[in-house]
Symmetry: C2
Subunit: 290 residues, 2 copies
């Protein structure tokens, strides 16, 4: 069976494959799109990555990731913002090199509380300030900054943006072309307000990325690696996919799984298994198709 034409393999799902191998196994599986990460791109250098992506014939669906800008004013904050400006340029270059339909989308993970700080309100305000500062750069580069709400269990140490509603509050002061949001099932599935917030995102044209993976229990010792293959956990994807489709999102859908067992498996086997699970569990063919 041909993989869903909207399936995109986020490179983190096959984390131990270098960029060339990742592009190769994704293309060989008949998958049309890939979500890239900055670190493996940097390993070969941006120019080489651009050529490799162009040669692969794949679309790029996003670049992970910018953000991590909760530090108070000072050298650390300036360095983080400069790093984000470089990430914006990389996003534009890669999207231009990908196959038609590629998305110039930079995923932003806010960052947690600064070391020793308990000022959650202040950290969240500094996220808003950082986005305001970066938005002109994104707009100039034709890049959409995609604010990703992470699961509340990461609020202290990874991302102070915890709900889709909060991400939309951060995005809405800016044009939807330059600031949008990520809808990620792992992070958001529990939210009683999810369908209302997806509809709100749709009304504003704010959905820049739809990412899927499952919530499995018990959580592993390292909760950063808690994600599971679709169908292995507790998430009912079909209503979320239907809401995202009704909200007007028609672009690629990324599978992004941080999971030691999946990382340890052969990347080509993981891609094949992902394509099957995507068809079976995500409900895209029924929800998202004309």
């Amino acid at each position: 069976m041909t993989p869903d034409p909207r399936l995109s393999i986020n490179q983190a799902t096959i984390k131990y494959a270098a960029l060339a191998d990742a592009l190769g196994v994704v293309a060989a599986a008949g998958v049309e799109a890939i979500g890239l990460w900055r670190e493996p791109v940097a390993e070969v250098g941006l120019d080489a990555a651009v050529r490799m992506l162009a040669d692969s014939g794949l679309r790029v669906s996003s670049l992970c990731r910018g953000g991590f800008f909760t530090a108070p004013e000072g050298a650390q904050r300036r360095a983080a913002l400069d790093e984000n400006r470089r990430a914006i340029e990389e996003t534009a270059a890669l999207a231009a090199a990908g196959a038609p339909g590629s998305a110039a989308v930079l995923v932003l993970v806010a960052g947690g509380l600064p070391d020793g700080s308990r000022d959650l309100v202040g950290a969240r305000r500094r996220v808003a300030d950082a986005i305001a500062e970066l938005e002109p750069d994104a707009r100039a580069a034709g890049v959409t900054l995609a604010i990703e709400a992470l699961h509340p269990m990461y609020a202290a140490d990874r991302a102070v943006v915890s709900t889709l509603g909060q991400a939309l509050d951060l995005a809405e002061p800016f044009p939807s072309e330059s600031v949008g949001v990520v809808v990620d099932t792992f992070h958001l599935w529990w939210d009683p307000d999810l369908s209302a917030q997806i509809a709100r995102a749709g009304r504003g044209g704010r959905i820049a990325s739809y990412q899927v993976c499952d919530w499995v229990t018990p959580l592993p010792a390292d909760v950063l690696l808690a994600r599971g293959m679709m169908g292995d956990g507790h998430i009912d994807f079909a209503p979320i996919s239907a809401a995202v489709a009704e909200a007007g999102y028609t672009s690629d859908v990324e599978v992004e799984i941080f999971n030691e067992a999946i990382w340890a498996a052969d990347p080509a086997a993981v891609v094949a298994r992902t394509a099957q699970a995507f068809d079976r569990a995500v409900g895209l063919r029924s929800a998202g198709r004309a």
Copy 2:
């Protein structure tokens, strides 16, 4: 220093102490109130527990816990509802036996998804149905059912009620005397909407219990035991305590910590340490006092 007169030690914080020992160490420390659990009460029998509580001179601030009623209609659901009716009676009996100012508050933990089910919406609907069924029993017994939103990381396997706003949606169809909510810092601290929802709870007279403990990172392997002593983690208690005070809550404040290291320590030492941490970190003397 005398412990804060509003401090209540939830029995789970000194989990391995039998009821007699728990009452003894709490009273000996000069703490005025205790939050009880059904299991240690059942160990001695309700009648004996009532006498022991009366003899201790302590107030009871809540009984943990009812709930776990997400199962579909059938024998399992009927058994759960009957169990909750017994818990309501126990709550009334214990509150009547405690010192003046005791609260007839039964904490409800909703329960997770039924085995093999991914129907989160249905599970949440059955929670609402269960509360509707139990509310007349609670009202007749003079008991307040206190709906506790648990952290979203427990949504699959422990509690499908995940935010204070959702708990209030469940409570508001009923009189505030019979159905209220728990404000628990561990479960709710991350919520961008928390202060607004505490104010909403205050307007409706819905805060039946305020519980505190800290969020520590990294999370331990068993996330059920992730709670920390106030001051050891990332939560800024003062603004939450201030919001709860502004919402009109003037009753006891429970410290409820599930933590292997704290459980392994001497209960009297834990109570002393808790009283100190409560004074230092929770901000009650500044926030809640006339």
